[in-house]
């Protein structure tokens, strides 16, 4: 299976980067092929430009070669994995920008004759989100779990009707000790090694 991992944390030694390594280890155990996009390391430009916005509804919405490269990876992927810290209930701006600029008409969806959105990522068989939260689980649930909703609802609606989603969250991250963090990394690796339909190892 082709797995595309998208990571959005500014620091290369962050816990989120350790999560990415766990994802990659889990995938390797199950013999999946992974490609990782570290948006900060790439220096991905987050803001959609004026020219891109004007081209959005046209025949060629992608103007940036870097975006074209990422769009090709999305089109080959059977699993999308997002790894990010939750800030203000949502992914960091750089990841929102990646969705806005890469998942454009012709890649993630198309407009039908009436101008309605129709799904375009039926090749994606699973969406996985792994996120760290400063707030505890109860607070996240009471207030707003926007990033999760965006990826497991809005993004999923552009995949196949039966595309399952998996969410793995580390809550109250700042008060989590080393043991909890290590257990979380193991949990992520195990989950990725045992995706439905993949040989367990």
């Amino acid at each position: 299976m082709e797995v595309l991992v998208v990571c959005a944390h500014p620091h290369e030694n962050s816990f989120n980067h350790a999560i990415v390594e766990s994802v990659e280890r889990g995938c390797a155990r199950a013999k999946h092929h992974t490609t990782t996009l570290d948006l900060y390391a790439i220096g991905f430009p987050a803001a959609m430009s004026t020219a891109e916005h004007r081209a959005y509804h046209g025949d060629h919405p992608i103007l940036d070669p870097l975006v074209a490269e990422h769009a090709a990876l999305v089109q080959q992927a059977q699993t999308l994995v997002f790894v990010y810290p939750t800030w203000w209930s949502q992914p960091p701006a750089i990841l929102r920008g990646w969705l806005e600029r890469v998942l454009v008409p012709g890649v993630a969806f198309r407009f039908d004759d009436k101008g309605k959105v129709r799904p375009g990522m039926q090749h994606v068989r699973r969406i996985i989100g792994v996120s760290t939260y400063g707030a505890p689980w109860t607070y996240v649930k009471l207030l707003n779990d926007g990033g999760r909703r965006m990826l497991t609802r809005a993004l999923r609606m552009n995949c196949g009707v039966r595309t399952p989603t998996t969410w793995i969250g580390l809550y109250a991250m700042d008060s989590a000790g080393d043991r909890e963090r290590a257990a979380f990394l193991d949990r992520v690796e195990h989950r990725l090694a045992h995706l439905h339909g993949s040989p367990s190892s």
């Binding site: 944390h9 500014p10 803001a47 949502q90 701006a93 929102r96 959105v117 207030l143 965006m150 609802r153």
Partner: protein
Amino acid sequence: MRTLVVHCHPDPESFTAAVRDRAIEALRERGNEVRLTDLYAAGFDPVLSKREQARHLEPGPDPSVADHAADLQWCQQLVLVYPTWWSGQPAMLKGWFDRVLVKDVAFELPPDSNRIHAKLRNVKRIVAITTHGSSKLVNALEGEVGKRMVTRTLRAVCHPFARTRWIALYGIDTATDAKKAAFLERVGRQLR
């Protein structure tokens, strides 16, 4: 009221820009003192840097966004004008949240606590004016991420009795000119 309008759209000739102009006009007619932050026009950098992340537990904003933080602490009413993309705020506006609403500007974080305390008690009214490509039904199914961001996440750090108002045009991709004109009227009517 002291009102901060934050506008986010890449195209200066967009419908969202027309909405912004109508909103500012209506706010001024009602005697509000208005300041405008136009994120794209200002060339705002929405990406929180490694340096900012490293000091996120220290108080105060990064010097590069100090003016934005001062405007936020000045206002009594916050008006956000933006298009909804992927069911929420565009990256440019999300980055403004990430970089400007930091510790000791938007919230306090007591030692050994993982619950933030509201610091934007000066903000008594929050208004979001937005356009959605898809229908209200689709947005409801998607969970209205942007609306919750404004009425819950942002409101939680404002005044405890802060009022919120959601002014949205759904289905703009298929909307007629008459529908858009009616929305501009509505924006003018519903602002205080």
